[in-house]
Amino acid sequence: MQIIETGNVAAALGVKLARAQVIAAYPITPQTPLTEKLSEFIESGEMQAEYVPVESEHSALAVCIAASSAGARSFTATSANGLLYMHEQIHWAAGARLPLVMCVVNRGVGAPWTIWNDHQDSISQRDTGWIQIYANDHQQIIDSVIKAFALAEEVMIPVMVCYDGYILSHTHMPFDVPEERLVDEFLPPYLPPYSLDPADPANLNTVTMPDVRPDVRGDTAPGYMEIRYLLHKDMLEAIPAFERVEERFRSVFGRGSNPYIEPYRCEDADYIAVALGSLSYHLRDVVDTLRNEGVRAGVMSVHLYRPFPDELIARALSGCSGVVVFEKALSYGYQGALCSDIKSALYRHTGEPGGRPFVVNYILGLGGREITTPDLLDAMRSSCSPDGGSGDETRWIGLRFS
């Protein structure tokens, strides 16, 4: 059924359809309407789940970790400083290999305080061992939430579904709400391979020695490093696993796409813009204008950011002359994280240095600074030429001093 609602409602409907059993969350702008909606669903009996109100984000994720350890399908959501307050538990959830799903409604990070959108919050959690998916519109939000549970439970790694605060969370747009019956077919109840059982007590994630040693049964148990190696290996295996999830989604719902990237007019493009989230859709209008001016430009959304589908991304970009990476976050003192990742992918997977496209990096929209189509056009026009990649310094859009 097609409805017009906000991105937050799209996420809440996805969580409801996924039949999450435990929800613990603490309100923070712009995530609040999502968790309010879920508490309404539960209060009215539309959704059978336990809503655990908590006093902080740290506790929200701790509750989800406990619930997931006991075998319940669990969900939380947050933004910005709330996400950072969870940070210790975020690492814990990944190390404990719990298939949680969390929506990150992207917002800039204080200090100074901002409530508006950028990507610094989730990008700063890139290296925690969670899978990260970025949605471009409401359809992708609701579909990604449902797919995220399937993926998390297949690879036993938690998943963040990230979408832009306000720009998507508070904008009303049409999207299709999948049928409950089909979601049940796609996502059967969660059967944990192991869960806490009072009848069979166990210690989980206790102090693990640097070296391997025999466990209580006398079998050689992995040490800390083996456990972490397995997390990395399984993260990489989540890349093909996501394709399988997408394949099943497509067979059940009759829609689906490339789960990793979303190229637009890239087949013959000389210059390709790359971005995460709604910005990559905004750039489609810019690409159309450039095409009308005779510039062969394209834009590519990165949908799966961790694990990073580097080979596929390098292949998608290898035929063009220049790559223009637009980012709403950066690694202070160096450059945008996505830009570094793309350079690394091109270095690994394309031939001689002279045969690689140049890569330029624009930082924009921090703390909700307005991103205008003319500004994006200017940036693309000045980059889309053979010498458009000269200079390696990070370029900023919309800075105003004095």
């Binding site: 017009i4 306000y166 998507l168 009303h172 859709y281 905004h282 209008d285």
Partner: protein
């Protein structure tokens, strides 16, 4: 690229329901065959009574640019006093339309080549049985009459659905009274 899109910017005061009005029109336009609809509120740190606005973009195709409208075809103003407080007509396209809830006559409003439509929505909404100050369903009637881009019946249906537990019939009546009470002026 959406060359056929219609962009409508709604100006009201925090708590006045400009976002709800834009949402109702969004739903009605979508039901009338516009598959591309995006209602994008612009949020500041506003309180009740402070000037607020939201952008509504409608098109036959999907909308990809969710940035706030800078070149609206239509500007809708829920309180005429906002004209003195904020540059609410900024960027209005040449020959564009300005819709105002005002007790003043249309001849008092002159905007360089723009069409103007006025109605005393505040008064007509009370006549329809709504509490004083509820103007967001009424202004939709003025918008419908002045723009002519969508049938009033599609809008009143969306109004009744939105206000299903909050005086749906009175809200729909307010839109009808304001539709009939609309006075067109400016450049025609």
């Amino acid at each position: 690229m959406n060359n056929d899109s219609i962009e409508i910017r709604w100006h009201g005061r925090g708590g006045q329901g400009a976002i709800t009005a834009a949402k109702i029109v969004a739903k009605a336009m979508f039901a009338s065959g516009y598959s591309g609809v995006a209602m994008v509120p612009t949020f500041g740190t506003e309180r009740r009574g402070a000037p607020v606005f939201t952008s509504l973009k409608v098109s036959r195709e999907k909308i990809y640019d969710l940035s706030p409208t800078t070149r609206p075809d239509i500007v809708v103003i829920l309180d005429h006093l906002l004209l003195e407080e904020a540059d609410v007509t900024q960027g209005l396209k040449k020959g564009g339309l300005i819709v105002i809830n005002t007790p003043r006559a249309v001849k008092n409003y002159r905007f360089n080549g723009s069409r103007v439509a006025v109605a005393n929505v505040t008064e007509l909404s009370v006549k329809a049985g709504l509490p004083q100050g509820m103007v967001n369903s009424g202004i939709i009637g003025v918008f419908a009459k002045a723009s002519g881009i969508i049938e009033l019946s599609a809008l009143t249906q969306a109004i009744e659905e939105e206000f299903v537990r909050r005086k749906p019939r009175e809200n729909a009546l307010a839109a009808r009274l304001c539709y009939d009470g609309t006075i067109l002026g400016g450049r025609r």
